[in-house]
């Protein structure tokens, strides 16, 4: 903070302009918010979690020893409260008979899987929960799949309800939620998502200026709307690129022809076509009129492309096919403390760059005419 502020002041004092230059308050806001987002987004640790369990299957009526690999865990600290559980559903849980800790990140837990289940199924997915005093509960959903017993033994049913999982301590301090598959990439919520927020807002502002151009016919309004489209396209492109990097490491492919990916690419193509069309018209007045009309329709199209169509079918992306995007464990209260400043900060940055582009275009127009 201090370094950036002093650098900015140095930069201001170095300009030899006759009029004193003062950076607008909202631009300072953008700087402060983005600094906060980059710092908080990187230094707040992740909640302890489990990344790997071996083996992945077990059969009922057998004893299984699970090799557990933790992430950010400290198994060695506070071993008195250490316990491991396999949960079938609700209070239907098994407690590990024996646990051997190797280090902070590795332990082995031995479970006996009863030869009877409360309900009938082909396979039973079990959630692994490791509890200790320092970490609270580390959870891995569907850690192992148990196959039904060859010989059903109803008397073992009571083993499922013998122990109760309760009195789990919550880990102290602030941390981001640990989500399997996502792990640390949950932090991308602060960088990838605001790109799209900024793009939509910039395109919206641009459409507003286009509407205004239709009413007033002022060429300056056309210049404004185009500046916002240019920067909106940059943010859209960044949203797509960052999404692809994230997808490669969570969905296993840069591009999986997902509805959300396809529709956002189409939206960007529509706006790129607008820029191409603009450059192909020579008459300035005609250029401005065509742009204004096209731009308003493009913004209207953005709504079904980004908000409606992806929600109508299944999709890998959160916010589609019934997945919540802005709730549940994907965005808890700690994350909101960084996410909303990130959205505001990147939107302000987008407005800032657009304003610069507009000012340059305006200067260019004045010198040429």
């Amino acid at each position: 903070m201090v370094v950036s502020v002093s650098l900015a002041l140095l930069m201001l004092s170095a300009t030899d302009r006759p009029t004193t230059f003062r950076l607008a308050v909202w631009k300072w806001g953008a700087i402060v918010l983005l600094l906060y987002v980059f710092i908080a987004g990187w230094i707040v640790p992740l909640h302890p979690g489990i990344i790997q369990v071996n083996p992945g299957t077990a059969s009922a009526g057998d004893t299984v020893t699970l090799e557990v690999k933790g992430y950010n865990t400290s198994f060695l600290r506070d071993t008195s409260q250490l316990s491991a559980w396999l949960r079938l559903s609700g209070d239907t849980v098994l407690k590990a008979g024996h646990i051997r800790v190797f280090d902070d990140r590795q332990l082995k837990a031995r479970f006996y899987i009863p030869a009877a289940f409360p309900f009938r199924s082909e396979a039973y997915p079990l959630t692994l929960i490791v509890v200790n005093g320092a970490d609270g509960a580390s959870v891995l959903p569907n850690a192992i799949f148990a196959s039904p017993a060859v010989r059903h033994q109803p008397e073992e049913m009571s083993l499922w309800t013998q122990h109760k999982l309760q009195g789990i301590q919550v880990k102290a301090g602030i941390q981001y939620p640990f989500r399997n598959i996502l792990a640390e990439t949950i932090r991308n919520t602060y960088f990838h998502v605001p790109m799209w927020f900024a793009m939509i807002l910039l395109f919206g502002v641009s459409a507003f200026y286009s509407l205004h151009y239709y009413r007033k016919g002022d060429m300056d309004l056309d210049r404004k709307s185009v500046a916002f489209i240019k920067v909106g396209l940059i943010f859209g492109l960044l949203g797509l690129l960052t999404g692809m990097i994230w997808a490669k490491n969570t969905w296993n492919a840069y591009w999986s022809w997902d509805v959300k990916q396809n529709m956002s690419a189409i939206a960007l193509l529509i706006y790129s076509a607008l820029m191409v069309m603009r450059s192909s018209v020579e008459d300035d007045l005609q250029k401005a009129r065509l742009t204004a009309g096209y731009n308003m329709f493009a913004f209207v199209l953005l709504i079904p492309l980004l908000f409606i169509i992806p929600r109508m079918t299944d999709s890998l992306h959160p916010g589609s096919g019934g997945n919540p995007a802005m709730g549940g464990e994907d965005l808890d209260h700690t994350m909101r403390l960084v996410f909303y400043p990130a959205v505001v900060g990147f939107i302000l940055l987008g407005l800032w760059i657009s304003q610069l582009v507009y000012r340059v275009d305006k200067l260019k127009g004045n010198t040429w005419s």
């Binding site: 980059f38 991308n188 940059i234």
Partner: protein, 86 residues
């Protein structure tokens, strides 16, 4: 003669493209290096809780915005020069 002329054209082309192609080749080398690393260690991006994915995303955002600002700066510079010359 014919050969000479085409050679001259080629020389002009290379001269104008020299700086750009140097940048492009450098970028290609970087990308190739990254792929080569990927070949030996396919899990680099997924190691330590996939933190390098977040790093990659941040670098892409910062680099793109930086390049865009540099291009904008160049545009302003041209305008200033034109104004100075008038």
């Amino acid at each position: 003669m014919e050969l000479n002329k085409s050679f001259h054209l080629y020389a002009c082309f290379t001269r104008s493209m020299k700086r750009k192609s140097v940048i492009i080749v450098a970028l290609l080398l970087v990308v190739q290096q990254m792929y080569a690393q990927g070949a030996t260690d396919p899990d680099f991006m997924r190691s330590t809780g996939k933190i390098y994915v977040v790093a990659g995303v941040c670098i892409v955002i910062l680099l793109t915005l930086l390049v865009y600002l540099v291009l904008l700066d160049r545009k302003i510079n041209k305008l200033e020069n034109r104004r100075h010359n008038d």
